[in-house]
Amino acid sequence: MTDISADHARTATAGDYFALLKPRVMSLVVFTALVGYVCAPGAGDPTLGFAAILALAVGAGASGALNMWYDADIDARMARTASRPVPSGRVAPQEALGLGVALSVLSVLTMILAANLLAAALLAFTIFFYAVVYTMWLKRSTPQNIVIGGLAGALPPAIAWAAKTGSLTLDPILLVAIIFMWTPPHFWALALTQSRDYANAGVPMLPVTHGAKTTRAQILIYALLLAPLAYAPVLTGLGGPLYAGVALIGGAAMVVLAIMVARSKAGDAAEGGDIYNARAENKPALRLFVVSIAYLFALFAALLVERVAGLHP
């Protein structure tokens, strides 16, 4: 909880409130949800699909605002997050809370209206899981915080799938599993370059609690699990030849980079501050972090292109 009492908000812009919604996370949610929606069987109504994905984006934004309300004390102590609207004093914590609660309710109700109860229930669960289970509980109590909490970020394609079809099958669960398994190596690569900030803020990230060496080993294990898992949609028929190529090349790149991280000294000297000015020994971790974003994007983009271009039924 925050005890920040800022002289705030009278000159706050709409952009400050929009920043509370974590637009970069929202864009990932919209993209993965769009792929889930397009890949789901059936024609689907474009208006209802648009409304469902918008509801998902707003729901993700709402949980971002709740996260920024609750974590303002942590954010204020970390260089990467100190300029966020609440710790910088541009928006009052209560306003972030109010916006988060209001948009949460609005997004779930809109999902009921535009789609169905299953999609709305999944969206409500996702918001609750991110805002309460991850933010209020896991983040401050266990180094497995981003592993378990990653489920919230992984669910959007399944919610979109459910919004279109009213049910869930193995394929959307595979998409969720891929994002879920992708999150630890992605986030821990960043955490290796930011461990000093996490330690200062009292966040028990894996590099802080178990050291850089264990983190590097865990990154490699998850990358080794992720690569074959990301190929699984080819076996179920969800992914076609283009997806298969991306999964093979991308998976190999992730494993190679994870091996390079494992053999490096990334994170040995605790560091914080600007992530893109990392010291030389942390560069392999930074490289993996950047490539992991491109990898996930490429996997989902391949599914989308195959459907839109008619390369795969």
């Binding site: 812009t13 208006t47 209802l48 209206l113 535009a114």
Partner: protein, 57 residues
């Protein structure tokens, strides 16, 4: 005769910048509400197209 009540209240005086910022925020709230209204309208149309009203009266 008593003084008007307003005189004894703590009235927050906004600076011109603060007033301008409030006005902009209000415009964005209005746009957001209007967009939501439009969304509900089109979702309703789409639902009706799907046959929600297609039943014996």
């Amino acid at each position: 005769m008593t003084e008007p009540q307003e005189a004894s209240r703590d009235v927050v005086k906004l600076t011109p910048e603060e007033e301008a910022a409030r006005k902009k925020r209000n415009v964005w709230i209005a746009l957001g509400l209007f967009a939501f209204m439009v969304l509900v309208f089109f979702v309703t149309l789409a639902k009706m197209k799907a046959g929600v009203l297609d039943r014996p009266l």
